[in-house]
Symmetry: C2
Amino acid sequence: MCTMAATTPQPGLRERKKIKTRTEIRRATYALIAEQGYDATTVEQIAEAAEVSPSTVFRYFPTKEDIVLTDEYDPLLARELRARPAGEPVLESLRYVIAAGVRMANADESDADEMRQRTALMVSVPALRSRMMESMSVSAHMICEILAERCGRESGDLEIRAYTMAVMGALHETTVYWAEHGHQDDLVELVDRTLNTLRDGLPV
Amino acid sequence: MCTMAATTPQPGLRERKKIKTRTEIRRATYALIAEQGYDATTVEQIAEAAEVSPSTVFRYFPTKEDIVLTDEYDPLLARELRARPAGEPVLESLRYVIAAGVRMANADESDADEMRQRTALMVSVPALRSRMMESMSVSAHMICEILAERCGRESGDLEIRAYTMAVMGALHETTVYWAEHGHQDDLVELVDRTLNTLRDGLPV
DNA sequence: TGTCTTATGACAGTAACTCTCAAAAGATTG
DNA sequence: CAATCTTTTGAGAGTTACTGTCATAAGACA
């Protein structure tokens, strides 16, 4: 039972188990929350459902909120954004990149489901909403660096930071709007309207 | 600061005591945090320093975070904003109102101190930052209603909501910037630059 | 003064974490 | 294959933010 992993970048059994445990905890969490709601779901229950100890749950996720909120789209978004032509207006780059991201999430049915559940939770659980905003500011930081590069400025520039946070805030509100309206609208279209408003200002 | 009890022209002893307790809890909290930091300060210590029971602390403030974050500027801001002429561009109204608010806070030295301490905490304690963002979205909701009124739209309009959150996000980032740079810049000037960026877009 | 209402403190309980330590499981080497 | 080393896990004890209840104290009012 000896697999040589020296030359091939094949992940060892340990790594594979870790990934399995991680996804299992998340799966169990989403299932329990769908049944009982967020607050009524304890970490102990999650641990039991995922067949690990509570200690292990906290070893994989620093807080209960993080089990729900972990979001791996950032690196993807960064790559796409860097790939956009330098001359393109910032808002148009973002428009393109976000549309691509949403379409990709929609392509996989379970991804789309999870996104809907997550945004719905964001609306109903205040603690999750504020954590989501926090993670939004993390994404904003990353975008700042890309934009600063493109504009030939410091990434710490007030103008860059403020503008980026403005965009992120608007997009966050857009997804909240989407969730509040039962995910009936087309998210890409909503994002389009939002970015238009940012570009043109509020019509008086 | 001012009580809502408009029915009784004279605040009874009970009301006065309540206000005193509330401010005392806040004062004790800020003092302890300045000494030991936010996390190291327990509600029990706060209660002891304020000479009340822990139960009472939680009766006045739903969470420890709220002791720090309670922010009574919203109603003031709303009043000022409604007073702006209807024809004025939205960003200019906000510019005026925010400048007035900042100048008012600067007028009182202890208010200014508290604002500096609060924003500094916002930078150093993640939990507080995200809660602050949450309260930002509450303010945004209020501003939405005023703007909707002025623009003759529904306050639930996507465009209004997204635009308002954009502005709030940018302003939040501006105060974070201010705190990160040791409160050395003039906040009014920073806000001006931010609002200009929102108006003109990012200079390429 | 007596009664009615509201604020308070004591206490018990829950649940999200944190820390520590020994045992189990995977990786590695002779 | 066995022995050893490293990483992951679970168990358990402890902290703290918060919740709910109830008797008592303090202010309001007649």
